[in-house]
């Protein structure tokens, strides 16, 4: 048991600091996206295998909780892409990779992800309001 906890802990924390957080967010965003993607491939395949079930899948997607998840998913995909681009750049042009650039890139990625996510979250949030919250308030 102690070994298991040790293994899990060492897989999460190798050094600490902003780079370690980026590594964890990258994995978390990747795993979250993969989980959704696996479900999403199967439910989209319903258009061929079981068209009447596709309608049911869409109803689940339109549920307010799922729409909140969708807003989080977009943040994850944006972050994973930007951080992945950083990994690609530093791997293919290693002379750029130093402690200072790595730290600056990580901060830049947090800011850029937030700025790119904000308008998307606003639009998706407006849809959530229009389709899920407004009907509860008696509006149309």
């Amino acid at each position: 048991m102690a070994t298991l906890i040790n293994t899990l802990w060492q897989g999460l924390w190798y050094k600490g600091g902003v780079g370690n957080w980026s590594y964890q967010f990258h994995r978390l965003a990747g795993l979250g996206t993969l989980l959704f993607l696996a479900i999403h491939i199967v439910d989209t395949a319903f258009v061929f295998f079981a068209p009447e079930l596709y309608k049911h899948a869409l109803e689940i997607y339109r549920h307010p909780l799922f729409m909140l998840g969708e807003i989080a998913l977009v943040a994850g995909v944006l972050y994973h892409g930007m951080n992945g681009l950083k990994i690609i750049i530093f791997d293919f042009w290693p002379h750029l990779w130093n402690h200072r650039n790595e730290g600056r890139a990580n901060i830049l990625i947090y800011v850029a992800t937030f700025l790119a996510w904000l308008p998307a979250a606003f639009i998706m949030g407006s849809n959530l309001y229009k389709y899920s919250i407004l009907p509860l308030l008696g509006g149309k």
Binding site: I41, F49, L73, G81, G84, N98, A120
Partner: protein, 130 residues
Amino acid sequence: MSVMTSTPTVREVSVPKTWDTRMWQFMRWSGALLIPLAWGHILIKDVVIGVHDIDLEYVRREWATWYSFWRIYDAALLAFAFAHGMNGLRHIANDFIHNENAKRVVSWAILIAWFVISAIGATAIIGGVR
């Protein structure tokens, strides 16, 4: 700290072309490709159109137009995104599993799951909306 002041040295080393070397390269190339593919997909489907305006008729129309451009786009997304994700899952699993036999079992399970789900998706893209 010496890490911050030392001049970076770039060493040329020959890397053996193993399976994992190729998968490492695949993660970089597919990752770069997925930035326009996946971001474009969520921008169009989640933000611009939105889940309330997507239904069977929408998918049917989209896959039928532009010489099946969007069908090819979705096929590329299926091929690259899911393989990228499942290989990433294998990497994470291998970080936590230290037993060689368990590692092999998990890697095979991930490969089989990748193949089955990819085949389901590919069949639907080729078969189209019924």
